[in-house]
């Protein structure tokens, strides 16, 4: 009986398929997988799954993602974007004022500390 083995490298990460083992039952499969697939690689967890219990659909049997143009799903599909708004003189003045106020406040704090 073949058991597919999935290994997790870091806590919270995905279990990634890393191979299989032959074993008569789940306990032996875990025991063999531990040596065969986790001995030399960083491992936080292993899953073993009977190969026959895995359901599969193949690209030969279906058309993954549909058959028609779905380029609207991707950012790259949008070639026209709006140009950025031009900054106004008013916006610029506001920024300068804010910077001056912050400088003044800092100077005030330093004077207090030195007093």
């Amino acid at each position: 009986m073949i058991w597919e083995v999935f290994r997790q490298e870091k806590r919270g990460g995905y279990h990634t398929h890393c191979g299989n083992v032959h074993a008569p039952d789940r306990e032996m499969a875990l025991m063999f997988a531990e040596i065969q697939h986790a001995r030399r690689k960083p491992t936080t967890s292993l899953w073993v799954v009977p190969k026959d219990d895995i359901a599969e659909v193949d690209a030969e049997e279906t058309s993954f993602g549909g058959a028609t143009d779905k380029s609207y799903r991707w950012v790259a599909g949008y070639t026209h974007t709006r140009p950025p708004e031009t900054e106004t003189a008013e916006d610029a003045a506001e920024v300068v004022l804010s910077a001056e106020q912050q400088d003044e406040a800092e100077k005030g704090r330093e004077e207090l500390n030195n007093a």
Binding site: H22, M28, M31, F32, I35
Partner: protein, 281 residues
């Protein structure tokens, strides 16, 4: 249990002559067992029942070799090195139990499994009796070795439970138990340097006799639960085989195994054993 007034030792300095002798005897028993059991397990590489069982058993052999290295390394503090400890050592000076040196019959997987079961249960008891040893460099190493032993025991037990699911498998296990059980008892045999002094100097917190009782209490019920009979005895010592190993008396199979083990070293005329790992601290 260790007593709180037990003197501890940070290294060879401060050991009295008798204490040093007892410690060396203890380390040779440990290291030689691990080296030789591994040497036999490795014979299963490529010929085990399946590739998975091959990898599992040879991996256990690698673990045991690693443990042997840890114990031999402690003997290096008494002026020995790999050359004198293994490759150029007189086979008659090895102190391993005769259980670990016996050859396997061709394809007798049940022997490998029964042997590792009997050995690994004893191994666990022995390491637990060393967890509080007065020799601190030894104590420091016991913890990490014990961690690896869990897999060894589970491996043997899982296999045994499955081997006895058929009549043929049960018969094979029974034959292996009948043959190996008396040899396994040699694991606990005392010698002139061993045992009483191990406990007296705080090197070990249980005596060999106590450990043998503990071992019998684990092994017999487990094997019987599988439907396997254990040889009957009034006194376990009556079952002991002729050659004990612990006193340097080995079976006829040992010199050939030792020759195999040192073959490459001798044939290639290596002046020094290859050192592939630094001292493990």
């Amino acid at each position: 249990m260790s007593t709180t007034d037990q003197t501890t030792y940070n290294g060879p300095d401060g050991l009295a002559e008798e204490e040093r002798e007892a410690l060396e005897a203890l380390l040779y028993r440990l290291a030689d067992d691990e080296l030789v059991v591994a040497e036999r397990y490795i014979e299963w590489a490529v010929v085990a029942p399946t590739i998975e069982s091959d990898i599992a058993l040879t991996n256990i052999a690698q673990d045991e070799l690693g443990h042997a290295r840890l114990w031999y390394d402690l003997l290096a503090d008494f002026g020995e090195d790999e050359r004198t400890l293994v490759f150029e050592r007189d086979p008659a000076s090895f102190r391993h139990s005769t259980l670990v040196e016996l050859p396997f019959e061709d394809g007798d997987w049940a022997d490998a499994i029964v042997r590792s079961y009997l050995y690994d249960i004893a191994e666990q008891l022995r390491l637990e009796a060393l967890a509080e040893t007065s020799y601190l460099p030894l104590r420091d190493r016991v913890g990490k070795v014990l961690k690896e032993e869990r897999y060894h025991r589970e491996h043997a037990q899982n296999w045994l439970e499955r081997l006895v699911t058929s009549d043929e498998g049960t018969e094979n296990v029974q034959v292996a138990v009948d043959r190996l059980f008396p040899y396994a008892l040699t694991l606990f045999e005392a010698t002139e340097e061993a045992d009483e002094r191990f406990v007296e100097f705080g090197l070990q917190t249980r005596s060999l006799g106590e450990m043998r009782e503990d071992w019998l209490d684990v092994v017999i019920p487990f094997l019987e639960s599988l439907g396997v009979d254990v040889p009957e005895f009034d006194d376990a010592a009556d079952l002991l085989p002729e050659k004990l190993g612990r006193d340097g008396e080995h079976t006829d199979t040992w010199p050939a195994l030792h020759a195999d083990m040192t073959h490459s070293y001798n044939e290639l005329g290596r002046p020094e054993p290859e050192k592939i790992m630094d001292r493990d601290e």
